[in-house]
Symmetry: D2
Subunit: 203 residues, 4 copies
C-alpha cells in the first residue's frame, strides 16, 4: 500500500479537525463530534467510492479523504454559497481525492462511478429522487448514511429507505460541550442529529 | 509515506467497527459512537506516540492503530480479565503497532517513550498518580483525553487536571440507538460518557 | 374552592412519586422525570376532563388526580396484566377521581364525557382509530399529549395528527440518573421519550 | 382541606406554564420541562415551607405555589434586574403565598421559618455559605434541590453536600424541542441541566 501524496498531517489531525478551521456559510456544517460518528457509521475502507450528497462546507468529505487516501470521493453541491467555502476547505486541507461536482442532486450523479458509500448531509427538497437514484447505483454491500436535524427529514428518509427495502439503524446523538462563562464551564448543547444508516440484506 | 503493512481492511472498517466484533469482559468497552468521538478528540496524526491507559478490551487502541499505522501505541492494562480479551482483539484486528504493556499504571509507564497523546479509559483508583506521571512525560503540544462514566471520575479528573495547569474541554455524549422491538424500532439509550480533553498553553 | 377529600398527602408528594412506589408489570411505566414533563405538557387546570388512554400502571393518572382533585379522569386500559397493578396503584394513592375503564380503546370511549385533555401513553395497534375518535370528541381548546418511545409511534402519531389538522410540538427528553456503583455515582441513561403535544388552531 | 383563595386557574395551568408567559431578564429562567422535573424532585406536599434561593424570575416558586396553595414559599432574590420581573410574575400569576425576600442569601434567611424544602436555582458566589446555613435550618426529613448548568456548580454542590453528610442523586436532563424551520420541524436543544437532590439519612 503506497500513498503517493499525503494530507496536510503536519498541521491537522486525520479526524477531529476543530470546527473553526472550516470556512462555512452561517456556521452550517457538521460538528466535530457528529462528524466523527458519521465517519464511523460510513465504515470506510481502503479504496471505496463515496458520494457526499449536499456536501456543504465539505467537512465530512475532507476527513473521509484523510481516512481513505486511496478512495474516490465525490462532493456533490450546487448551492453557490456553500461551493465557495467548500473549495476553500478542499484546498486548505489538501483533500486531493475529493472531486467537487457542482450539481443539484440527483443531477450529476449519472456520470459518477457506482458508490460503495453514500452520505447525504443535505438533500434539499429532493430526498426521494436522490434515494431512488442512489438505490439503483449503490453496490450490493454498500451503505447509505443520512444525517437529519429535522423531524421531517428523519421521517421521510426512513419511509423512503423502507420503501426501497433497506434495513435501518437510527442513532440520535446529543452532545453538550463546555464553554467558558466568566470563570465557569457552562454546558452548551448542540442540536441533536439523527444519523440513519441503511443497508440491503439480512439485519 | 510508505505503509509497510496494513490493517485488516478487507473485512473491517478503519473506524466504526461493530461493538459485537470485540471480545470483551461483561460488555465493558467503549461503544462505537463514543469511540469515534474519542478518536476525534485525540487528534491523531501520522507517527505519534499514544498511551492507552486502562486499555480494557482495546477497542480505542485498535481503531487508533488503523488511523496511524506509523504511530507507536501502548495499551496499558493489568486486569487479567481484560488482558485475555485485549490480546484476542489485537490479534483479530492485526493491530501490529499496538504494544501491550501488562502493568497497573502508573507502573510500567517509565519504560515507554514520551507520549504525544494519552487516553485514559480506566484509571482504577490511581487517577491522581497517573496524571502526575503523565504530566511529567507528556510532550509540550500533547493532549490528554479521559472518558468518565461516573460523576466521581469526572470531578476528580478535572480537579487534578486543573491542579496541573491544563486547559480543559468537557463534552457529554448521549447516544440512543434504535433496536428492533417486535416490528418497531425502540430508541435505546446508552449511558452518557464525559469526554475530557486537556492541553497545556493558551486556550 | 373546596376539596371534599384529599389525596394521600401525608406520605406521598403531589408529583414526583418515586418510581418504586408504583406496582407495575415488568417495570413498564412512565419514569418520574418524564411523568413530570408529561403533566406539564397536559397543562392541567381545576376541573378538566382527562382521558388517559393505555393507562398502564396508572402513574400519570394518579399524579394528575393529585393536581386536579376536582377533575374527572378516566384511565382506559384493557391489558389484564396492567389492570391488576393499575387497580392496586389507584387504591394505594387514593386516586378517587380516576375512573378505571376496562376497554381496548377506541372501544369504551363512547360513554365518556368529552375530554379537555387526552394522554396516550400506549395505543396498542390502534393509534389511527383512537386519534380519529379523539379528534371527534376533543373540546375546541383541548390538548392531546402522546408519549412515544419507538420511532414508529413517533412517525405515525405525527402523520395522523397532521392529517387531522393539528399543530404539533415534539419534545425529546433524555434523562440520566446517578446510581451507586461501588463507591461511585454512575450516570445511567433512561431511554429517550418523545412527548408530542397537539392542539387545533393557530400556532 | 379548604383553599381560601385560588391561583389564576382560568387562564394558566397549574404547571407547564409556557416559557414566554414569564417576564424575564435575558431569558434567564428555568425552562418549562426542567421546571416540571424540578418540582417533581421537590416532592411538594400540602403545607410545606419552601425556600427558593436565587429565585430569578420566580417561575419555580410560582408553579410550586399552584401546587401547594397552603404552603409557605419564600423567593429570595437580590439582583435588581431579576427582582423587577419577579414581582411582575408573582402578580401576574397571583402567587399570593410566595413572599419575596429581597436579600443576597445567606443574608435574609435568618428571619424565615425552618424549611422543609430548599431549591437553589442560583447561588451567586455563595454556594458554600448558603449550604451551611441551609444545613443548620433544614428539617430532619427535608430535601435540598439544586439546579446546575455549569460543571463548576455541579462539582461544588456535590462536594459541599457530601461534606455536610447528605445522600445525593444527580439527574441530567437533555431536552430538545421542535421549532418551525421553513415548513420543517427542527429539533432545537436546550442546554442540559443537572438537578441535584440531597437528603439526610439512609439512602
Amino acid at each position: 500500500l503506497i500513498r503517493t501524496w499525503e494530507p496536510n498531517l503536519a498541521q491537522y489531525p486525520l479526524i477531529g479537525i476543530e470546527d473553526e478551521e472550516f470556512a462555512s456559510f452561517k456556521k452550517l456544517f457538521t460538528r466535530q463530534e457528529v462528524r466523527a460518528v458519521t465517519l464511523a457509521k460510513l465504515k470506510l475502507q481502503n479504496d471505496l467510492v463515496l458520494w457526499d450528497i449536499g456536501a456543504g462546507s465539505g467537512s465530512v468529505s475532507i476527513e473521509a479523504s484523510n481516512l481513505i487516501p486511496n478512495g474516490k470521493l465525490f462532493a456533490i453541491e450546487k448551492n453557490s454559497q456553500y461551493v465557495t467555502f467548500l473549495k476553500q476547505n478542499l484546498d486548505k486541507f489538501c483533500a486531493r481525492n475529493v472531486k467537487l461536482v457542482e450539481a443539484y442532486a440527483p443531477e450529476g450523479l449519472d456520470d459518477l462511478p457506482d458508490p460503495d458509500r453514500v452520505f447525504i448531509g443535505g438533500a434539499g427538497g429532493n430526498l426521494e429522487e436522490i434515494l431512488e437514484q442512489v438505490d439503483r447505483r449503490l453496490k450490493g454491500d454498500g451503505l447509505i448514511v443520512i444525517n437529519a436535524v429535522t423531524l421531517d427529514t428523519l421521517t421521510k428518509s426512513i419511509e423512503a429507505l423502507e420503501y426501497h427495502g433497506y434495513q435501518i439503524e437510527v442513532v440520535c446523538i446529543n452532545v453538550s460541550r463546555t464553554k467558558p462563562l466568566t470563570e465557569f464551564k457552562l454546558f452548551e448543547a448542540h442540536n441533536p442529529v439523527y444519523i440513519i444508516t441503511a443497508w440491503k440484506g439480512a439485519e
